[in-house]
Symmetry: C2
Subunit: 412 residues, 2 copies
């Protein structure tokens, strides 16, 4: 388990890290090589819940060009009662048409047999290159081999088989002390946004042994995804394959009732888990050296969102973050671009707490001090718009030579 | 005058290039050093029309954080009757508050004296670093010195004084054969979108000696800016200072009547001039090695625009263009991201005429042939959306190591 530390994500008091890892009770996972990756690395992963009444919730990409497994999950799965997941890496099974849907259905069928559950309780996910038919010849053998390795501590093997070019592991095992008792949350995520070569993407699988109603799982996953994966940007590129699944086995016997203190604490723990994985994905952005956080307050909901995204996705801001350049004019530019109008807008900008722009006008400040501050691993930008309004945040990675190298030199 | 060649912009039959350069009749221009650039290079420029009945039209940035000169022009100029322009480079006079407005007004006043016209007929433009007060001590002397150099062939001096880090000249002098007689169009542009260090920006000044009504100038500039500067993207960043001005001296005595053949041909020539300068700006994008053109047809107006911008501004597409990588999955991703929905959308993609995706599904093609095609200076991407619909295009530069180097290592 890789060390995680960020001033922006602190574990709540009810959470204890389990350094030895492992899945939440009621789950087993494994990985194997199906021959998709030319390297021979593991590329097919299986996750199975042994409890009969498992519930689940899911979120998928909003892309209008969703990959076959996303289409399959939406149309042929009971997304509130998933009991197994099969994943392949190295091929996105996207832009593959009818054949792609058939291949995804064959994966689903094989995993259903391996897990001993009905097909509509098996989710399918893929990640890798777009527009290439999935090599199916080794797939059935691979799924069988992964079944043979299913283990309660198979989370690391599972992660390895879903990863592509991730630079470090993104998984966690947490113990959560609820008033009603102790439960576990385990989670595995891969990807660095949409910036991986071959167009890999974000996948996140979360398991808990708490007893959750399907509606509770749906509610909690929805809220927590909004505060984590929907608040990050590596390069502003929405993927064809994004998927996040929460599965609850109920094996702990600890019931999380709606609108209880248990739900509140469980939600805090899930929120921590997902925000932590989201920040790890930003930190593992291709070539990323620094992570930025932009916080925008004031104005209206659409306005703060537009301003935050304009800053997080500006190549000028991202390159300045990479170079440790305190050039706040690029923030001012992005604000103005996000809010067209006659202006000038009386906005404020703080970088690492230094007030550099007040009411739209430059504020004299200690440039040497600011330059030192923006050279650290994490840099915080705060923008104030007129009015009390609302607030939002986006975490983003920088734009580096390494990003260009990987994405220019990579060949399909 | 730098050589210009692109398959996407051909001169119309009525246009002849004037290789010796020079301004349209009735205009004089000059440049001088006012001490804004530490290098001592020319940084203040003056353009004056000697005809009493000059008409004009203007377009400015839509940024909500417009620079002081943009605010001044909008509020204190007769934009349909401009007779002079004063420009400084090296400082954007943006995010400078009341002092910035005063400084812009002082530039306007000095240029009005130098040109012998009323203040409200003088446009002011600035380009350079944001958030730093304009050093005014040398400005008056600089404007006087530029006045002393005013000449009918001063277009190159004028250009040099408005340029910042432009790698090559962007100016032209054209003779246009209208049914009613011969007129000239001259134009000077600077900038490479918003990607220059110090946040320089797009400025374009166009002169003609045709006799135009102010309404005709307004109409033609509006149409031609929409087809040129509004169809390019270096890095998707809207600037605080963008300005494009068309001034007509009437010195040729050739009258361009509304809805005449003369207007049609003059419009073609102006369109050619502005598209040519726009493509030069894309080609001079920081570190740019290749220029892309994306053409989207079908769908609805908002949809084609969103898809074209999503492709032109995708760092994945831009990095692939830089590396000569025929990875069309990145185009498919951008299309899907631009049109959220359950999908999958049945879109088509052609790269350099090679059909790589039909109805949303990969088409087998000769990868070696395509790889050779995308390694040339200009690469064309065509996307077909369902329906007859509409069409649009965007020209864009690639994303290179040099872009990151300049924008990461640059320090304010």
């Amino acid at each position: 388990m890789s060390a995680f530390s960020s001033r922006w994500v602190e574990p709540p008091a009810c959470v204890t890290e389990l350094p030895e890892g492992g899945l939440a009770n009621g789950f087993r996972a494994g990985g194997a090589a199906a021959g998709i990756k030319p390297s021979g690395d593991p590329d097919v992963a299986l996750l199975v819940c042994s409890e009969p009444d498992a519930v689940s919730a899911a979120r998928f990409t909003r892309s209008g060009a969703p990959a076959a497994p996303v289409v399959l999950c939406r149309s042929r799965c009971r997304l509130d009662a998933l009991a197994a997941v099969v994943v392949n890496s190295g091929n996105a099974n996207a832009a593959t048409g009818a054949r792609g849907l058939e291949d995804a259905a064959r994966m689903q069928g094989a995993a259903a047999m391996a897990a001993g559950v009905s097909e509509d309780r098996v989710a399918v996910a893929s990640t890798g290159v777009i527009g290439v038919p999935l090599p199916m010849h080794g797939m059935m053998k691979g799924i069988l081999a992964a079944r043979g390795k299913l283990a309660p501590d198979g989370d690391r093997d599972f992660w390895r088989a879903i990863a592509t070019t991730d630079a470090f592991e993104k998984l966690l095992s947490l113990e959560v002390a609820l008033p009603a008792g102790i439960v576990r949350i385990s989670a595995q995520a891969k990807g660095a946004g949409m910036i991986q070569p071959g167009f890999a993407t974000l996948l996140c699988f979360v398991q808990t042994d708490a007893v959750l109603a399907a509606e509770t799982a749906e509610l909690l996953l929805g809220v927590c995804v909004k505060r984590s994966f929907e608040r990050i940007s590596v390069d502003g590129q929405l993927s064809t394959n994004d998927a996040a699944l929460l599965m609850a086995s109920g094996a702990s016997g600890v019931i999380v009732e709606p609108e209880s203190d248990d739900e509140l604490r469980f939600g805090e723990a899930l929120d921590y888990a997902l925000r932590r994985l989201a920040l790890q994905i930003v930190g593992d952005g291709e070539g990323a050296a620094r992570t930025g956080r932009v916080h925008v307050h004031g104005g209206h909901e659409q306005t703060v969102e537009r301003v935050a995204r304009a800053i997080a996705n500006s190549p000028l801001v991202k390159a300045a973050l990479n170079g440790g350049d305190p050039n706040w004019g690029r923030i001012a530019q992005a604000v103005g671009a996000a809010i067209p109008g006659p202006g000038p807008l009386p906005f404020d900008i703080w970088i690492e707490g230094v007030h550099v722009c007040a009411g739209g006008v430059a504020v004299p400040h200690d440039v040497a001090e600011l330059t030192a501050a923006v050279s650290r691993d994490e840099v915080e930008y705060v923008v104030g718009l007129p009015g009390e309004g609302v607030e939002t945040e986006v975490f983003f990675s920088d734009l580096s030579h390494e990003y260009v190298r990987i994405n220019a030199e990579y060949t399909t």
